[in-house]
Symmetry: C2
Subunit: 286 residues, 2 copies
């Protein structure tokens, strides 16, 4: 798989790493960057993530256009791009939620929505920005694509091949199923960590508490150092699935609270043992 | 600080590492091991954690006796030891909760409770057992001692000096304050992680969920791989403080749920931003 021109809307960690990997593999000739922040595009060019910054008109002429930006901005960006898309141009994204992105694509692109391939690389970290980009970010990671029934087969095949070129393992899921899964294994843990740290930080004597926090706390709350803006957007974008997960989690905590209140040692041990067995089974598989 | 004989009740990660560090520093001549499992003591001796396994009578003749075992067993062990304690023998422990340990000491030791120094090394990991012990486990870690008003000053000074010899930084706290702090920064995160993993594991299609779990999930749930028995005991031992923390956490999650349900972007961003700032401030201090 080789394309001539890739355009990045958002040349940060996610978009920049995609471009670097494809460049390194010789899978793309030219990488364009487009976006609202000229300063950021200058940095991206200096770091070699893009070859040059362009406007929406020129970005629309690329063979493949990757949206790597907060999911809340998807529809507005697609509306900017829509009038300039060359025939056959393929658009894809890297957002953490997919139902809302699919809806945005149909709303903004109309009949050209068949050229949009919704995607979600399971990579990234608390770090962000062009400076964090690296060619091996996706090596061995999973990338989920959630094509729609009318997604053009060639567009899907191209996006799949490009991700595979970065070293990723590509899987496809139904968009709604994707959102339910990631509400549970990613979005809920982030909210749970934010809530726990905020609950501590709100105390008058929070310094005393943090002083004795150790490695378990460090691991548990690492994701609370993630971008607040990004997670606000993700939470709102995946609201129905995330509300269901939050309800399930609060119910699980209330069950645990009841067992503790009743000094029910058997119930506590059962819950902790099931959790450890599942965690260890998962660790062995990954 | 140099003592002749140290006795370990529990020669696993915590007790074994204490003994190894003191041996390495030349701060102890002989390390004895006592406990219900002869097999485990044999392993501890083969690994050089103890010099020999003894009975309760001989263990009571040691200069310092460290209890490094599940907190729920404290009182029973102290009752075993009490009749055999030589005059001036110092007893200390390494339990994660302190109010219940202090109560157990007064109940089991009577007037000799003045020789008991409650302690809690903030170290350890999901690993446990004699094989995980290492001489540098406590280097740079905090150890909290919670002496009572009538704790003998010399006993406190000896235990403090021994921990400092292992490379730890020793602090003292009121026992109730200790239990409140650790309910918040350690016990609650463990319960929250166990509950989250169990909630996932209970689903018919849990394999599909775990399959897409990534590094954020790995960090958040690492502590769910901890010993179920140990955490059942800790939860029960610190029940009042932990119930209060669970209530606060559930309330924080309900507040977050309300903000998400109301699509209150400002409230979500405020909470996430406060949490991130606190997490980053903490990381910089540690």
């Amino acid at each position: 798989m080789k394309i001539d021109t890739l355009a990045l809307v958002g040349a940060g960690l996610i978009g920049g790493s995609f471009a670097l990997a494809l460049k390194q593999a010789g899978a793309v000739h030219t990488v364009l960057g487009v976006g609202r922040s000229p300063a950021r595009l200058t940095v991206a060019r200096e770091l070699g993530l893009i070859d040059r910054a362009v406007d929406w008109t020129e970005a629309g002429q690329a063979d493949v256009i990757l949206l790597a930006l907060p999911v809340g901005e998807t529809e507005a960006v697609l509306r900017q791009l829509a009038p300039h898309l060359k025939p056959g141009a393929i658009i894809t994204d890297a957002g953490s939620t997919k139902m809302n992105v699919v809806a945005a694509a149909y709303a903004a692109l109309g009949t050209r929505a068949v050229d949009f391939v919704p995607g979600h690389p399971i990579a990234g970290s608390e770090r962000s920005g062009p400076g964090a980009a690296r060619a091996d970010l996706y090596r061995g990671r999973r990338v989920v694509l959630t094509p729609q029934p009318d997604t053009r087969a060639e567009a899907l095949a191209t996006v799949r091949a490009l991700w595979e070129t970065t070293g990723a393992q590509v899987e496809t899921l139904d968009a709604a199923q994707h959102d339910r899964i990631f509400a549970a294994v990613s979005h809920l843990p982030h909210l749970a960590a934010f809530a726990l740290v905020d609950d501590l930080a709100a105390r008058a004597d929070s310094e005393l508490f943090f002083r004795f926090a150790a490695s378990g706390f460090r691991d548990f709350t690492r994701i609370a150092a993630s971008s607040p803006e990004m997670w606000r957007d993700i939470a709102l974008a995946n609201r129905p699935a995330l509300l269901a997960e939050l309800d399930g989690y609060i119910a699980a905590l209330l069950t645990l609270r009841q067992a503790l209140n009743d000094e029910d040692a058997v119930a506590l041990l059962t819950m902790f043992s099931r959790a450890r067995a599942a965690r260890e089974h998962w660790t062995m598989e990954t």
